[in-house]
């Protein structure tokens, strides 16, 4: 922790950055912190309760954050994939940011969860995560972490759903999505949902009905999952933010598995790596056209 605070202090004092975007404790666990004074750097913390993906704050559309000036951002490996995505999709310039990578052995589901990380409370997405630290970083802090261990198994859950027949699957998702009230927390916390005007907000034509009925909710969530194909960094923020408890991560995970099997692509924190959606290859499968 001291290493992180000292580094942040130095970055501010050397005027390398105007603000540090990191984590601090509040009454209910960890929350995002925006620190502009070197004297406040001792508020910075990092542990398994720092679940938020701070890359969401880096969108150029966040005018009040852009006003802070040059930022240093604390990122876990999964967050680094989002920063890489933003750079890859021309939302950010690598040189405009200082990236403080933190070593991570998995996080809990909610920042207010237990002080101890264990196999019961670990976020399902962390189980099987192979990246202990980001490659895309200017600095790396924290102790070496061991691979997270957990009981949750998303692939098992997915294969259970895949085993259902289409009617059963439809009825499962109809029931889950019926809880959506279209607060768009999923979109707002998503670092890759940075569109100037989201398709869900377009009115001419209104591609996606804004009403939270079955038709509108299906169009919204399926469209979002497809727009994140090969782009979702699996930070789990949409699912965590959903006040309706919809397992949105399952949709994204399913799409990611399809992208992996068809294009041999897994989202990485290398901004120069070409993505299936952003590149064209003659040998891409295109049987859906014929």
């Amino acid at each position: 922790m001291q290493e992180l605070r000292d580094l942040a202090k130095k970055l501010l004092l050397d005027k390398q950055v105007n603000a540090i975007l990191g984590y601090e404790w509040d009454r209910r666990g960890a929350r995002p912190a925006f620190i502009t004074e070197a004297g406040d750097c001792d508020r910075l913390v990092f542990d398994h309760r720092c679940v938020q993906n701070l890359a969401a704050y880096l969108s150029p559309r966040r005018a009040n954050i852009a006003q802070l000036g040059r930022l240093a951002v604390v990122i876990k490996a999964c967050d680094a994939r989002a920063v890489a995505g933003l750079i890859r999709e021309n939302q950010l310039k690598r040189e405009d940011l200082v990236l403080i990578g933190v070593r991570c052995g998995g996080v809990v589901v909610n920042p207010s969860d237990s002080e101890q990380l264990n196999a019961e409370n670990i976020a399902p997405r962390c189980v099987g995560c192979e990246q202990r630290e980001p490659t895309l970083a200017d600095h790396l802090v924290g102790e070496t972490q061991s691979a997270p261990v957990g009981k949750a198994n998303r692939d098992l859950r997915l294969s259970e759903i895949e085993k259902l027949n289409p009617e059963e699957r439809l009825s499962l998702w109809t029931s889950l999505l019926s809880q959506c009230t279209r607060c768009y927390a999923c979109r707002q916390v998503c670092p890759m949902c940075f569109c100037e005007r989201c398709i869900a907000d377009k009115t001419q034509p209104a591609w996606i009905e804004s009403s939270p009925h079955s038709r509108g909710n299906f169009s919204w969530h399926l469209t979002r999952a497809l727009h994140l194909a090969g782009r979702c960094v699996d930070c789990g923020e949409c699912e965590r933010a959903c006040p309706a408890g919809i397992p949105l991560g399952l949709l994204n995970h399913k799409v990611a598995r399809i992208v992996a099997s068809r294009y041999g692509y897994a989202v990485s924190d290398d901004p120069s790596r070409e993505t299936p959606i952003g590149s064209y290859r003659l040998d891409d499968e295109q049987e859906f056209i014929a």
């Binding site: 509040d26 009454r27 209910r28 666990g29 960890a30 929350r31 995002p32 925006f34 938020q52 969401a56 704050y57 966040r62 005018a63 009040n64 954050i65 802070l68 920042p111 029931s175 889950l176 009230t181 279209r182 607060c183 768009y184 927390a185 979109r187 707002q188 916390v189 907000d201 209104a206 009905e209 804004s210 009403s211 939270p212 009925h213 509108g216 923020e237 965590r240 933010a241 006040p243 309706a244 408890g245 397992p247």
Partner: protein, 349 residues
């Protein structure tokens, strides 16, 4: 005859069962499907589903009288002429069992805006059809602050019956004519009783420890501090979604949209909306009166703790804490209100 009754647990369940058999919709806190410990208000099929302990339901009671989406009318067009088909403003009899006091109170608070000058028949139509049986709050957590906004874990506001858990059953206080009418349905099952026995220790002190402020002082401070560094500091964290508003029992902003159901027919609907997304106030011209998150976040606090009190005489908040629990960014109304309280004391001194 006084207005207090005792109903033992089996009789209570029989009573709920009799309501169901009479074709009355019964809504109660139940476990969320695939949601672990989480609870939500839903129509039940059997009294066994009811969960009266634990955390408050994730979403408040407001959707029972104000659905997330509802048709305002249907229309059909033939050539140049349009026919409008009205939607009913009378609704099916519904009984809510086990409402949290913070949720029941919210209905009365929102009645004011729904009824000033123009009366919203869809809101009041459902209000009329719904009988609310509140339960003395069984569990609070670190997000609760009802005592800071003039309510309490035993507040009877907005309830037709107020129920307290006692050994072997419930002690019931009948509060309204609607409550009396419902009592007719279980007269034989309950017996008269004297005052409240307070079998459960009150959560009052525990909730008060979370936040202890004077909303009047907060309002005075807000009145004078449209511009304050607090707004821009706190708003940095806000993602601008509608989660806080959609889980709020008192937030009532809405949108009106047209949808087509086919060629030449469709409906106009109203949908929940929230003041935090940029689109809420965006003009067709591109001008946006609340152009950044700082302005939008301030509006949320101002509306609840200054504008609504000025207009309707009380804060637009029941201290249920749902906005705090729901916020992905850790926006914490308790911290914000205590900060305002602190600033106000500092300036007053």
């Amino acid at each position: 005859m006084n207005n207090r009754r005792m109903l033992n647990k089996t009789d209570f369940e029989d009573f709920v069962d009799s309501l169901l058999r009479a074709g009355i919709t019964v809504i109660a806190p139940v476990r969320r499907e695939q949601g672990g410990e989480k609870v939500e208000y839903r129509p039940i099929h059997s009294p066994a589903e009811i969960v009266l302990s634990g955390q408050p339901p994730v979403r408040p009671l407001k959707e029972v009288v104000f659905p997330p989406t509802e048709p305002l009318f249907n229309w059909k067009q033939t050539k140049a002429s349009v026919q409008i088909e009205e939607v009913p403003t009378e609704f099916k009899e519904t009984v809510v069992v086990g409402a949290r006091p913070c949720d029941a109170a919210a209905l009365e608070i929102v009645d004011k805006v729904m009824g000033w000058d123009y009366r919203d028949e869809l809101w009041f139509g459902r209000r009329q059809a719904v009988t609310v049986l509140s339960l003395a709050c069984p569990q609070s957590d670190d997000s609760c602050f009802c005592t800071a906004v003039g309510l309490s874990p035993e507040s009877t506001r907005g309830a037709d019956w107020f129920m307290s858990s006692v050994d072997g059953g419930f002690e019931i206080e009948i509060l309204t004519p609607k409550g009396e009418k419902l009592l007719e349905r279980c007269k034989d099952r309950c017996r008269e009783t004297k005052g409240r026995t307070n079998a459960m220790p009150s959560l009052d002190a525990k909730v008060r420890a979370n936040l202890n402020i004077d909303p009047g002082k907060v309002r005075e401070w807000l009145e004078k501090h449209f511009d304050d560094p607090l707004w821009s500091d706190v708003a940095l964290r806000c993602h601008g979604c509608g989660a806080c508003a959609f889980v709020c029992p008192t937030c009532h902003c809405f949108d009106i949209v047209d949808e087509l159901d086919g060629i030449g027919r469709g409906q106009r609907r109203r949908n929940w909306d929230a003041c935090q997304p940029a689109l809420f106030t965006l003009h067709g011209s591109g001008h946006n009166p609340r152009k950044d998150q700082t302005a939008r976040f301030r509006q949320r606090i101002m509306h609840k703790f200054n504008i609504y009190p000025a207009r309707f005489g009380e804060v637009l908040c029941t201290g249920c804490g749902r906005c705090i629990r729901a916020c992905a960014a850790g926006m914490d109304l308790i911290s914000i209100l205590s900060e305002i309280d602190r600033k106000s004391a500092e300036e007053g001194a």
